[in-house]
């Protein structure tokens, strides 16, 4: 071989090596067993002679707990004796805090983190056997390890799965994410949507002088140049972006001042950036009624977490997603209950207001007054406040029970002398739900049906008591007591339903499943009503959280006779003939209940 040939050979080798190292490993194809279980490998690859397998396999087949951070690429794998922490793209890992080098760096493939198998196997003191002819790979477990895995399987601990929810399907996403555009959406938090098609890692940080926020998107391709956007709102001056290096696109937000931010990932790719609410001056005063009030300036009302802490007593208000504009400060007050107010940036996204108290105090309400927000404080504990509210509420009057006029009742009638309470839902100032097209009021529809049902029940010999027989407000809490007061044999509450959109329709009956009688009553009413009016049968629904059903001492049911949000059903429910038919259907249900179960 001449010199020329030697150089050619050298060049070809370089090319080959370059190509091999360029592709991030070749796909491996083999059967794989851990102990006596065959592992269904969704993906595997070989890098520098190291077989990499998905981290989830260690969870599912080896009883490990895996944790991975979507954003930083950090990963953690916990075995009984060893905790391994590492990072995608670096072969250095910490094993129980000590640095070790794996044969290859963990990497991503088909939406899975791939981890070198050999390293883990060696670490755990297991053996890796290969049958090269048949392309089978075995992890031979120690007895101890096998027992451990079996115990984990029984406890059903598989951390990566969210039980009951579908795993997101990443398969349709493009292999290489593409940055389409950057859309400034504005609002009090200067929202920006970075339209990346496909999933991307990101790395973001704040820089000062000049103040700016930077998002680096590794491995993202550009659809075209990123135009610079002049924003000049209260937070963002300008947004620009460009290729930072061969692999990274850098987006720079030039800011008026360094402000913390959140980056939310959208389900089908894309990142939403939101800057913190800006919190300005904070102050305190007592209004004319001597009610203490904290006020603050902000571009929007942020939510806050409340903590009342003892010794020394203080009220801590943590405003979420806020940046404090003018730095930490202390405002001396020296009031009978409040010594001082301290304001600080507790974490990059939380502004903390601490009230140093002499006695307990809680925030109860927030009002917006002249462009600033005022937190109304109550001097006392939560329990004391609720007790005060209960006191202030109008005295609960004895429910008004209108007993029907005594009359001759034919004993042969199916409901002779049965005491039945009919409860038309809502009423008066509480209209219930309102129809989607005609705007019919639930309270009117159910009153008409109830009065008709009452008339039919009396015709059949029953003694009927209404919780309301006209358009008046009856408290939610008074309805069951009325039925209890007259020793009713059954209580039927009549309502009309509603749901967002116009698709939902039909009849459903709610009951408290504590007593079988309730189910029987609900079931027979639902069946008879649906059969009679031919409506969609949504079935009976056990509920333990409806006040009227929980507090009735007799079989009780709440019938939702139809949806006023459904345009056709609304029109039908508004029709007196249909209302009459509903009443007849309910009557049959009640008659059958007494015939079969009483």
């Amino acid at each position: 071989m001449g010199k020329k040939g030697l150089i050619f050979f050298f060049a070809v080798s370089v090319l080959a090596i370059a190509l091999f190292s360029a592709s991030s490993g070749c796909e491996a194809s083999f059967r794989f067993y851990i102990g006596d279980r065959e592992v269904d490998l969704a993906a595997s690859l070989v890098v520098n002679g190291n077989i990499l397998i998905p981290i989830s396999v260690f969870e599912q087949y080896m009883g490990a707990e895996a944790e991975v951070s979507l954003d930083s690429g950090e990963l953690k794998l916990v075995f009984p004796m060893y905790t391994i922490t590492g990072q995608i793209g670096t072969s250095k890992v910490l094993v129980n805090g000590e640095e070790q080098i794996m044969g290859a760096a963990p990497q991503l493939r088909h939406g899975e983190i791939m981890v070198p198998l050999r390293f883990i196997v060696d670490l755990l003191g297991l053996r890796l056997n290969t049958d090269t002819r048949q392309a089978i790979l075995y992890v031979i477990l120690t007895e101890e390890m096998a027992d451990w895995i079996a115990s984990r399987d029984q406890s059903g601990s598989v951390g990566l799965q969210l039980p009951g929810f579908p795993e997101p399907d990443f398969s349709e996403l493009p292999d290489t994410p593409v940055l389409k555009e950057i859309v400034f959406m504005g609002g009090p938090r200067s929202r920006v949507f970075i339209d990346v098609q496909g999933f991307t890692a990101f790395h973001s940080f704040l820089l000062t002088n000049p103040d700016r926020m930077v998002i680096d998107l590794p491995g993202v391709e550009l659809d075209g140049p990123i135009p610079t956007q002049e924003i000049n709102d209260s937070i963002v001056k300008r947004i620009r972006g460009d290729r930072f290096d061969e692999q990274t696109i850098r987006i720079v937000f030039e800011l008026n001042r360094a402000t913390d931010y959140q980056i939310n990932r959208w389900p089908d790719g894309g990142l939403e950036v939101e800057f913190n609410y800006q919190m300005g001056s904070v102050g305190y005063y007592r209004d004319e009624e001597q009610t203490p009030r904290i006020w603050f300036e902000a571009n929007e009302q942020p939510m806050f977490r409340v903590q009342l802490l003892p010794s020394p007593m203080r009220l801590v208000l943590d405003f979420q997603y806020t940046t404090l504009l003018d730095g930490a400060r202390e405002i001396p007050v020296g009031d009978s209950t409040l010594r001082a107010i301290r304001v600080s940036q507790n974490s990059p996204s939380v502004t903390r207001i601490v009230l140093d108290l002499e006695g307990p105090m809680i925030p109860v309400q927030v009002e917006e007054i002249n462009g600033r927000y005022e937190i109304i404080l109550f001097e006392g504990t939560e329990e004391e406040y609720q007790a005060l509210l209960a006191q202030k509420a109008p005295e609960p009057e004895e429910p008004e029970v209108v007993l029907p006029v005594e009359r001759e009742i034919d004993d042969s009638l199916p409901l002779a002398h049965r005491m039945i309470v009919v409860d038309p839902g809502h009423g008066g100032s509480a209209p219930g739900t309102i129809g989607s097209v005609l705007g019919v009021f639930e309270k009117d529809v159910v009153l008409a049906i109830s009065l008709e049902l009452g008339r039919l029940l009396e015709e059949n010999g029953a003694v009927v008591v209404f919780t309301r027989s006209d358009d008046r407000y009856v408290s939610h809490f008074d309805r069951a007591p009325i039925a209890n007061a007259v020793n009713a044999e059954v209580l039927i509450s009549i309502h009309a339903n509603s749901y967002e959109g116009t698709a939902a329709k039909g009849v459903e009956t709610l009951y408290n499943p504590l007593y079988l009688e309730n189910f029987r009553f609900a079931e027979v009413i639902q069946r008879e009503l649906v059969n009679y009016i031919g409506a969609v049968n949504r079935g009976v629904r056990p509920r333990t959280d409806l006040h009227i059903l929980n507090n009735a001492n007799m079989p009780a049911a709440l019938v939702e006779v139809g949806f006023v949000s459904h345009p056709e059903e609304e029109a039908m429910l508004n029709d007196p003939d249909y209302q009459k038919r509903i009443a007849e259907g309910l009557l049959m249900g009640i008659i059958n209940f007494f015939r079969d179960y009483r």
Binding site: V68, P267, Q307, P363, E382
Partner: protein, 168 residues
Amino acid sequence: MNRYKEWTAVILLILSVCFLLRLAFVRPELPVFGTQLWVVYFGSGEDSFLVPELRFGTPSVAARLQALERGPRLPNLNPVLPPGTKVISYQIEGNLIVVNFSRQLTENHPGGSASELITVYGLVNTLTEDPSLDYVQILVEGSRVTTIAGHVDVSQPLRRDESLIEAR
């Protein structure tokens, strides 16, 4: 000398081809995995069921509340909080979270037991996704209310209700 130049040129050419190929072939693999997923419950667009919507990132209580306040990202889901409803504040006491809402929670509620159940349990189920929380107490502008729309008793702390989640 000429031959050396020739060889150098050939090598440079091959190296640059390698470099270009490398650019074309290297596709850095990107973090895409499932552990940092969490869910917010919203109303189904079809009927009164709760449907989990997936979110990515850190599921703090504030993030969960903010997600409920903002509403669904998927166009075929319905928000569980009535229009204009804001979270004023929240307080955590052991396994109970007390959430204080603005008055729009009751004032703007469309009514109907079906949509009231979605509102109540969209909220309760989303917050009790946090393993440390079991109970949710709803307040409206600081005070306990009997109901949001006339049916469900919310005067007491509520527990999670899986029965309203759409069966898959």
